[in-house]
Amino acid sequence: MQKRNNWLLLALFAPAFAVFVAFFLLPLARLAFASAMGPSGFKIYLAAITTPRYLETLVYTILLSAGVTLVTLVISGIVGVFLTRNEFRGKSLLVSMLTFPLAFPGVVVGFMIILLVGRQGLMGDITKLLTGEKLVLAYSMAGLFLGYLYFSIPRTITTIMASAEKIDRSLEEAARSLGASPWRVVKDVLIPALVPGLISSGAICFATSMGAFGTAFTLATNIDVLPILIYTEFTLIANIAMAAALSIVLGLITWMALSVARAAAGNSVAAAG
């Protein structure tokens, strides 16, 4: 019966595997292949990371994503722990509002940022009232930064709330019973317990920021990020080899970030995605 079951299990497993191979692995292999099919062969990777325009974009994107990740973790850490550890009226409403943007695609996030800090945005109106100067952030690095924060915060809050809920309450109570102040409890109990969750959600936040396309696309900023660069290489310049090479560089960076986080935080990274 063992044998028969094995065949049945294989039959259950095979379709998903086939689809995955045909529409993911195979195309990805072709992509890698295509990158080296340009006139410069594999040297194109060298070009991709030495040409100043590309390099600059790459560095910008990484810095932006890393910065966003850091700020997101701090903000969501505070909010997430606060929400799991306190009960008050209207909490569930607050949680729903904080997690509502979870399902927004990048374009909508971009639009939200335009409404907030764009040319006709709220921030502009307020600053004009206060200082007479209209503050417009949306189309600069700051706008991108805010946009990435906007889509990262809700996701990270949910994962942090989930891992904070799992922390054994009695650990904290034990620390308190031993005379630890609230800050000591946070430092000695809460943060160590949250670290795996923080690492994994941080990695995911970084990876999503690296690959985010919609927000930058809508904001049409004067600073290119890597996905936009790939897009313009492909559609406007039709430099397929370079677009492919840059995609692979991008894919490798995000993949590496996730793997490092996985190694550091145990197995939970992928699951949190």
Binding site: L10, L28, L31, I78, L94, P227, I240
Partner: protein, 647 residues
Amino acid sequence: MQKTKSMLFHAQFLFTLLVCAFLIVPVVQSVVAGLTENFIMGVKSGLTLRWFVQVWSLYRDTIFLSILIALTCLAVTLILGVPAAYAMVKKQNRWTRLFEELLVTPLAVPGLAIALALIINYGGFTGFRTSWIFILVGHVIFTLPFMVRSVIAIMNSVSLKEFEEGAASLGAGFWQRFFQVVIPNALPGILAGSLMVFTLSIGEFNLTWMLHTPMTKTLPVGLADSYASMRLEIGSAYTIIFFLMIIPLLIAMQWVAKPRQREFVMEKSHAATGATVLRPIAAASCSPDQKEGGRKLSGTALRLVNCAKTFVDGTRALEPFNLKVEAGETVVILGPSGCGKTTLLRIIAGLESPDSDGRVYFGEDDVTDVPIEKRNVGMVFQSYALFPNMTVAENIAYGLKVRGIEAAPRHQRVSEMLDMMKIGQLQNRHIDQLSGGQKQRVALARAIAVRPKVLLLDEPLTALDAKLRDLLRVEIDSLLRSLGITAIYVTHDQSEAMALGDRIVVMNTARVAQVGSPREIYFEPQTRFVAEFIGTINRLKGRLQEDRLVFPGGSIPLPASSAVRAGENGNVELFFRPEHAALVEFGQGHLHATVVASFFMGDRTRVIIEGSSDDYLTIETKGIQSFKKGQRVEVAIDPGALLRLDS
């Protein structure tokens, strides 16, 4: 929760409100903008639905296409993902693990790169490239990992293996198990995954922007177009439509994620009887056809020949094992933890197969290669493995249903079982509304409802408290006896073994230590292991002097029949049980000793004494006398009860 909210609380609360404002203010702005005549002028310019009408006429198609793609994507990921997840949970090998690893990569590889790869590989097929199916493919690749992971997570968290084994022991085949046990129990995960997939597909932009053509625009693509047109009111109205679409999805997600507990319905009979929920089951009330035939009616003889078990990791859980069980006999497998009891039971059940030489016979039939669902065994699992997706009555009926028994006789049989186990009032309850003892009864009822050839019980009482254990032990005993069923009962509790077994098989590290009736095992243990495992045993160590054994505190005559020979260096060890010794007047006993401790146990007093050999001795007395530490006592031992044991 603090009573008075501290400074810290207020600071954090304010901070949270600020974050919330950052996220929600633009949402409110867009809602206002979509409903007002002029965005710059604000609400003063008047409210209107004009923009919605415009959006509807301009972008209607994108909404329909998005819904079409999301629904199809959901169907495809369900059809591909759920079976794959199940296979991956069931079969952990190199391939499934590799696939599990690979499944993470679409999360790591940016959508843009996936889209580019798809275009480079399949862009040449113009018909495909320009149809919405092309976008669908991208969405499937992007969402499949979420579905699979969500389903894997739930399958790992519910004790799927037990439920499946439970179903298999009742006769359910592969597909029946898949559809009746696996899918219903994985439902929360499937639902969560479905919502996730649908929501992701509706909002997907990175991939879709690259994959779309002017004829195949989805909602987010349309949104991007509308934003690019720089008309904030239309963009806002369109965004509101998007919000309206995802809000129900988000609410549903929260609802699914919330842990729910079924209400514990207290029935009247329940409330009335208070704590004594369990009424003793009357063995006489079992179905008449079984009662009359006496002991040998429904059981089958059972034979294990040479059944060894080596697990793939090399663990030798069972040395070649031979056992013959008469029809209708109750055999108890007794042994310390990890000695292979469960493995043995699972081989009999057909959940494990023995190493290649081993054979299992039910009666004259060789069932070694028969899967559990065809063996017609009844199995009671340690954790009960009751199906949480079914009520008590449905659980009991399950094995009958699988066997294709029609509704009328099935119901009758179920109510017979319910009556017999005195759980009729529970029949419509769900499993998580039962107490431990009630679950135990349902598990028993489910196992015997199918009139199995052999009833297998793996430590069925360990999850219960001591009092209930005693009660149920008596009940199980009378049940087994009145049913006349062949039963194999695994336990590590010696009193349970003594009470239930016609015969006891004592096991020690993958081997049989001794087989015999409870009396034989107790009074004539063949090894020290058996003697020490069952009850308490005392050791006397001394030298032979003519026909007496002489030891530090005294001496005792050897029984004439026993052929005691001295070991090397002339030392002899003899053993006796506490009840074969008594505390006597000075001058009438065999040895002097000092009391170390005494335990008053109600009906008797257990006295621990020292002075006669290296070990303490344990003696039991019935009198009302009490003992003090250091008190001198004299002990008489029944010479006929002295045992010689191989170590």
